[in-house]
């Protein structure tokens, strides 16, 4: 049994199996380029094969054991793969839109998470403040500064300024601002029964959808769908000049109710049958990317160890130049 296991490990840890599993990884990566497949999912099997081959080689390959730096490289590479695997099982990525003046709401996050991820998003609390974005001529987005207020003990709010490359770090999650942001009309709807609700509608991302600032909206408890358009009176930007993303001052809300068309300025209301809709003013919303990864430091450490060990091996082969391995064909000749 031991002999069989040893032979199996030798086959698994052979250069041929390693080559085949590496080639399989390359094939999956190429397939991911050519076809609409999810590369990270398809890569699991070939990477598992690489890991099995690595571990088997570490266990039984005599030539590998005789070269400490090469051995260390393969150990670090195996650790690298294991840590990345654990990271993928625990990682979470998400995206969310947060309205200016509102608290972050974990229930609105679109989440993609590994099976072992335990969400702590509901522990995250912050208030979205105003934000500014600089644009260089030619619509080149530059620095984003988003003001975030975090509640602390004693009713105190701590203010932090975050951006595309300066995340808000909260409860193990990182919140990065994105190119995705826009305007959000604040509406108050009074239904026929007298129930009042206030909320915002997030218009499509701006300026990417500069000419499509509208959406269809069904008021709460109503069967009727309205079309809502945001009309901005003054030009917000000129493409060839530098500009700053800020909320426009003069806006009107166009409400299309079947054949009827209503234009509302901030503070104005309109009767929609027996219900009422009031346009309270304009806010903005910011789109965030959320990354919940706990193991990036370990991944970096394993990767660095692998690179250093490989460097050590290369240096050792040059120091011992006479031991430079030769191909089988050359040895035979």
């Amino acid at each position: 049994m031991t002999g069989f296991l040893h032979r199996a490990l030798r086959h698994l840890g052979s250069a041929e199996t390693a080559s085949a599993s590496i080639a399989l990884c390359a094939a999956v990566a190429l397939a991911g380029i050519c076809f609409p497949i999810r590369t990270s999912t398809w890569m699991i099997l070939p990477v598992a094969l690489v890991l099995a081959s690595l571990l088997a080689a570490l266990a039984v390959d005599v030539r590998l054991k005789s070269q400490p730096m090469l051995y260390a490289f393969h150990v670090a590479l195996a650790a690298f793969i294991v840590v990345i695997g654990l990271d993928r099982l625990n990682a979470m990525s998400g995206r969310v839109e947060v309205t200016e003046g509102s608290m972050f709401d974990a229930s609105t996050v679109v989440v993609e998470a590994g099976p072992l991820h335990r969400s702590r998003l509901d522990e995250v609390r912050f208030l979205q403040g105003p934000f500014e974005i600089d644009y260089a001529p030619g619509m080149n987005r530059r620095e984003t500064v988003s003001v975030i207020r975090i509640p602390e003990q004693g009713g105190v709010w701590r203010e932090v300024r975050i951006g595309d490359d300066k995340p808000l770090i909260f409860g193990g999650y990182r919140f990065y601002t994105t190119h995705n942001k826009g305007f959000a009309p604040l509406l108050t709807y009074v239904s026929a029964s007298g129930a009042t609700q206030t909320g915002v509608l997030h218009m499509p991302s701006y300026p990417a959808n500069e000419n499509k600032q509208g959406l269809a909206w069904t008021p709460p408890g109503s069967a009727k769908t309205l079309k809502i358009w945001l009309h901005i009176d003054e030009p917000v930007f000129e493409k060839d000049k530098a500009w700053k993303f800020v909320k426009p001052v003069n806006t009107r809300l166009v409400v299309i109710d079947g054949e009827e068309r209503h234009e509302l300025e901030a503070g104005q209301s309109v009767a929609l049958g027996t219900a009422q809709l009031r346009y309270d003013g304009l806010r903005s919303w910011m789109g965030y990317t959320i990354a919940g990864q706990d193991m990036t430091r370990w991944i970096a450490a394993a990767g660095l160890m692998a690179c250093l060990a490989l460097l050590g091996y290369v240096l050792s082969t040059f120091v011992n130049g006479s031991k430079m391995p030769a191909p089988e064909a050359e040895k035979g000749g």
Partner: protein, 273 residues
């Protein structure tokens, strides 16, 4: 064309550098094909070209306040510079010098491409404001700088096998294959570090260290090709031709990763900026 470059001095310096690079290539090929194979003049022309090119890149860097890694023109320019510098350094080894004639024509493709690429003033995206980017770029240039002379040596082996060309002043094919192996062995260290530094940059910039975008996928495929060669070589019965095949394959993959995949969109890492 060069005439469209914003700063006239940079255009003139780059024009002179391109002319000198191409003159060095022509001289190297001519002297290898028809004369003694002496490469001294080609080296002198390369030094002059590198001096002019360094001044052009330095001037642009100072004027735009960012390194040459934003658009196609800048990436071509910096790689033409770094690859000629790497070829110069590797082929200072006297016994390898005739392979300069096989390597410089590969670089001439890039040089002519650079000549016809419009130069515009660029603005570095906000996500480029990280220390990881110059590290990632420098490591990538060292990797490609080692893979290119390896491909030159591979071409020499291929010419010997396919065309019967002797390259008699060069060592035997077995020794050249060992040189390819050495170059690719050093290259894989820098290639691995380039990927790690790139992942650190991506983590900083886009909150994910790896996203399998086309550029990342091609970089991964190039890395696996190098690993495949290093694993297959000890057991291969193909002899020096294995090294020739893989050195050319790795160069082609790296060439597409550096100059093809990123420019199918308007910026490196499509969609991520």
């Amino acid at each position: 064309m060069i005439a469209e470059i914003g700063a006239p001095l940079e255009a003139q310096l780059l024009g002179i550098a391109i002319a000198l690079y191409l003159a060095a290539t022509a001289h190297s090929v001519f002297s290898t094909a028809f004369r003694s194979g002496c490469q001294e003049t080609a080296f002198v022309l390369m030094v002059a070209a590198l001096a002019c090119h360094t001044a052009a890149i330095g001037s642009r860097w100072g004027r735009l306040s960012h390194g040459p890694y934003v658009d196609l023109f800048e990436i071509l320019s910096s790689n033409v510079w770094s690859l000629h510098l790497a070829a110069f350094a590797v082929f200072l080894v006297p016994r390898l010098q005739p392979a300069l004639a096989a390597t410089l024509p590969l670089l001439a493709v890039l040089t002519i491409w650079l000549w016809f690429t419009p130069a515009k003033d660029t603005l570095a995206p906000v996500t480029y404001a990280t220390g990881w980017l110059p590290i990632h770029v420098a490591l990538g240039k060292i990797f490609l700088g080692l893979a290119t002379p390896a491909a030159g040596l591979g071409l020499v082996l291929l010419c010997r096998k396919a065309l019967g060309a002797s390259f008699s002043s060069m060592p035997d094919s077995g020794s050249l294959e060992t040189d390819i192996y050495r170059l690719l062995l050093i290259a894989v260290v820098f290639q691995s570090m380039m990927l790690i530094a790139g992942a650190a940059w991506a983590q900083n910039a886009w909150a994910r260290y790896w996203g399998w975008d086309p550029l990342e996928s091609w970089a991964f495929v190039t890395w696996t090709a190098t690993l495949l060669f290093l694993h297959m070589r000890p057991r291969s019965a193909a002899g020096p031709m294995l090294g020739a095949f893989f050195s050319i394959l790795i160069f082609c993959l790296a060439f597409y990763t550096f100059f093809g995949a990123p420019f199918l969109s308007t910026a490196p890492h499509k969609g991520a900026i």
